[in-house]
Symmetry: C2
Subunit: 601 residues, 2 copies
């Protein structure tokens, strides 16, 4: 059975050393986030996720969720009990405000726990993950009464939450949804319609499930401007907070999926269910985007999380499995063969994984810090800058990290050879689970268009220019240091490719928007590589500074420097190729008609 | 349910127009291969595979193979009956020699049928596929008695065959196998040991199964130089050809795999089974490589085949599914949304798939022609040249085509959005089935080392130089034609990257073989892209010539030209990036010790 052990040393490096969160001690919520507290949360979180959650991962895959004839759903063996432990330990309360029963800690700490949860068990992590998204939407748009009624129990984990967007004919294009909301005399609405792909839509892990549902009021515009958001609890909640009648929402079936079998992906049938509007009428999409942005960062992290789990198991296998001899001569002449760890092509895959997981961990946590700063930084200017940067990077984190997460999980499976294809080893599950993150919360092609069609033009291009300036500055500072100069120079070249690609869009997308669409995916991957390169340069700088002080764990920092160099050598060269593809434009891509794709017979 | 329709028009283009197989009419076996015959075989093969084999693909995935307590195995519903039809129609006999009951047709025709079989149903296609490999090994190394005893029934499909290499502790490194072969007084051997991952190892589709098994005779060298090959029939065969006693080989279990559920992947236990040596003692690996080379080309084709099947279904979905509007304005203003086919990022994925599948189809069939020529060309020089080229390209076809096949299947699943993740749509199966082709028959990292460590140095580098010269010649001929010059020039640049990478190996691998190992995978992918670019240039040339004659299906040839351009613009730029990665060498890749990969906690 595959194992997971939380990379606490690396978390500590990023949070305490690279991000230096103690330096933000003057901001609300950060005052208690001492290095000691961070370390003890990482330690406890690591134990909980590796010992309680990870052992349920494979059984969740094998047994899945079961829908009974009455529409109730049983989660895999152990899930309910593990969630009881999660709730009892208060893991869901870490970053929530104290007035809701939370601990008010920075997002950056909460995000570390989320990565651990998802590495240990992607499917399990989704139950609290979706609850968080629903909490954020209610916090932002709910009435005081709605907040009081739902939030404390959602924060504590007594209840969970869901997001209900997709319908059979409407996924990316939510303007086409058909679910109806009929206003009632008492101010509530009757919700009727069918929602599909509802993660954690029905289960036995909590007393109540708070569904946030997109629907259309009578006469609403027939587009995405006619969508409203509703809160629809599985059980109605009485004024005293006790649970009342069962609402008219039920699980019609559970999907048979490629992976994440431990999460109940439901068809939810709303049959005159009672709901209440959240936020303004016809402004539901904006409210839903609050959940979506939170969810997209979390989805990016899922790509990393499966890569990390797969990587750990591949390392163990590579050190244990013996086949053949090192090219430079036997490493272990006494044995019949050397561990496959000695083979360069195995090492290539492991180093790719190490460079990606550590780089994207830094990126995810750095982004979580931007999320903190967007709310808590001292000046409006700082808050706005952090919010802009987070908005710019959200599609990159979602799209790039999940693509690379799937690729990494696939490579880690490859390390196992034939055994990787056998389900018992667990590597197939990492690949199958990682796959969904490229698809849900906006397929990665949609992320690319969000990045290039909306975010690049944000504030007349000022946000992407701020991104360039931020990295230029880091490069300039590093160029003088001989230990960092080569990495900085390679990053400068890659950033130059991104700048050139940006310029190409400016010159060619106005005349033909398909030129933007044709290159958007390439651009997303250029920017992903550059952004991780930026993180690696930051990490190398910190490692280099630490090494100057002759630290006891010298090898850790030396490995950071080597991996930064590896990343620069092996990930950044793609930026030039991606730019050249992008600059080919839309012509040959869009030239052929439907018939040219159907000439099979 | 996903559908498959054989791309017969494209097969006809490659076989009749690009390869012009009628021009080989003076060679044995080709004399009957008229365009009419080719077309009628493609037509009938297309019907059989799409109507009989393809409908069993999903049920094979869902129901898999069942092992009963007595060790017998039941294949999925319909497989046995379909194989009866396959046998009755004589599909297995196409390319076999007439003296064995075959039709003596060129490999290039047989290979087209194999692609169709595998696209229709990867798992099903493996039963006859492995039989072919076993036939080739027996033809090459069997005694006249062995050939007479086994081959006619294997050719007819009355019996099937298997390859038994892997043991639990020995996969890539076959020198470590432990299965024993004890010589008996009557010239037979007693075979004892455990083999794993034996595809089609036990089933109910044929009367007998002829296992080819690697084992060690007493006192054999403790390395790959001590392996012998044995034929071990499931049922012993009496002198009159009737079936005798059940042999001591049985299926201990069926593996639970990520995909190819319709193929019975068995643990086979040999318990003093009776076998006979095939070929010379201790030369079993060489004999097995006859099967392996055949199998590696077939495995490359499997990558193409799953990409093709996934592509066809993605095209149908993209034309049917409506979400959003074209960036250039509504294409179908009457409807609520346009088909997703209008979105550039969807088209990017479809064009990538079209460029890859058509390009790799040309490559597979061109290689099959080299296989024919290696046996049948008029001069020894021509036969040798074809054999050398085939040997050089075998790891490229296996490694590159299966990597791209998996990537393509994944992208085609992405076209479906959330529905792609739902098993009922069938896209997950294409991905899961395609995955195995990167792993078995020598994992792709092993292919890369075969290419760089053995094939590049073949005949002192003369073979790779011949490859360069062949492409240089095609480029030179195309450069004068304005319609082809841009494609030729992009290919020239990519080929330049490959030449430079080759030179870098020559200068840096002698001093440190890890530099070869570290860049081998990059090299394989450079060469794959160049080779497909060569095929596209050939196809573009033929299409351009046809267009000059104002053909009735002008659109088909125009699409070839557009796709050739797209391929050159979108696949070839990677060669430069891959070369730069390769030139980074082994230093940072091999610098870290085991501990640096285990610092999780």
């Amino acid at each position: 059975m595959p194992k997971y052990s939380a990379p606490t040393r690396d978390f500590r490096f990023v949070i305490n050393e690279m991000l230096d969160i103690e330096s933000y001690g003057n901001l609300p919520g950060f005052e208690n986030a001492s290095e000691d507290l961070v370390n003890s949360i990482l330690e406890e979180g690591g134990k909980f996720t590796s010992e309680v959650i990870a052992p349920l991962n494979q059984i969740g895959d094998q047994q899945g969720c079961i829908r009974h004839e009455d529409g109730s759903v049983t989660t895999p063996p152990g899930f309910k009990e593990a969630f009881d432990q999660y709730r009892a330990a208060g893991w869901g309360t870490l970053t929530q405000p104290e007035e809701l029963g939370g601990q008010g800690l920075p997002q950056v700490i909460g995000f570390a726990l989320k990565e651990m949860m998802s590495s240990a068990n992607h499917s399990f992590g989704m139950y609290p993950g979706l609850t968080n998204g629903a909490i954020e939407a209610l916090k932002a748009k709910g009435t005081p009464e709605q907040k009081a009624m739902y939030l404390p129990n959602m924060v504590s984990g007594q209840w969970t939450g869901t997001m209900n967007l997709t319908e059979p004919h409407a996924g990316t294009d939510l303007g086409m949804i058909r679910t109806k909301a009929e206003p009632q005399a008492d101010g509530s609405y009757r919700i009727t319609g069918t929602k599909i792909f509802i993660s954690a839509g029905e289960h036995d892990m909590a007393e109540n499930i708070i569904h946030l549902v997109l629907a259309k009021t009578p006469g609403a515009p027939d587009s995405s401007k006619g969508i409203s958001l509703f809160v629809v609890p599985k059980f109605l909640v009485n004024d005293d907070g006790s649970l009342g009648a069962r609402n008219g929402v039920s699980c019609g079936s559970i999907e048979h999926k490629m992976g994440i079998h431990g999460n109940a992906t439901c068809v939810l049938n709303y049959d005159e269910a009672t709901g209440w509007m959240v936020g303004e009428e016809n402004k539901g999409l904006a409210a839903m985007f609050i959940m979506m942005n939170e969810a997209r960062l979390g989805t990016g992290m899922q790509g990393l999380s499966q890569a990390e789990a797969a990587y750990q198991n591949a390392v163990a296998y590579a050190l244990d499995r013996r086949q053949g001899r090192a090219l430079t001569g036997p490493v272990d002449p006494e044995a019949k063969a050397d561990p496959i760890f000695v083979h360069p092509d195995i090492r290539r895959m492991l180093m790719d994984a190490k460079a990606f997981t550590e780089g994207s961990r830094a990126l995810c946590l750095w982004s979580a810090l931007q999320s903190d700063l967007s709310e808590k930084a001292q000046t409006e200017e700082e808050r706005q800058a952090a919010d802009d940067m987070l908005g710019l990077l959200t599609p990159v984190i979602k799209g790039f990290t999940t693509d690379m997460g799937y690729e990494t999980a696939t490579n880690m499976q490859q390390v196992f050879g034939g055994h990787g294809y056998i389900e018992e080893w667990g590597m197939s599950q990492f690949v199958r689970d990682a796959r969904i993150a490229q698809i849900y919360e906006g397929a990665n092609g949609v992320q690319a268009m969000d990045l290039c069609g909306r975010k690049l033009g944000h504030k007349g291009g000022a946000t992407i220019q701020a991104f360039f300036a931020m990295i230029d500055e880091e490069i300039a500072a590093a160029s003088a240091d001989p230990a960092l100069a080569d990495i900085a120079s390679r990053l400068e070249k890659a950033l130059g490719e991104q700048k050139a690609a940006t310029m190409w869009f400016m010159q060619n997308a106005m005349t033909n928007p398909n030129n933007l669409g044709a290159g958007a995916y390439n651009y997303l991957h250029i920017m992903g590589r550059v952004t991780l390169g930026f993180m690696w340069l930051k990490m190398a700088k910190v490692a280099q500074a630490k090494l100057a002080g002759s630290p006891s764990d010298k090898a850790f920092y030396e490995a950071k420097l080597v991996t930064a160099k590896y990343y620069a050598e092996r990930f950044l060269p793609d930026c030039g190729a991606l730019r050249r593809k992008l600059e080919a434009g839309a012509e040959s891509m869009m030239a052929l008609d439907a018939e040219a794709f159907q000439t099979a017979a």
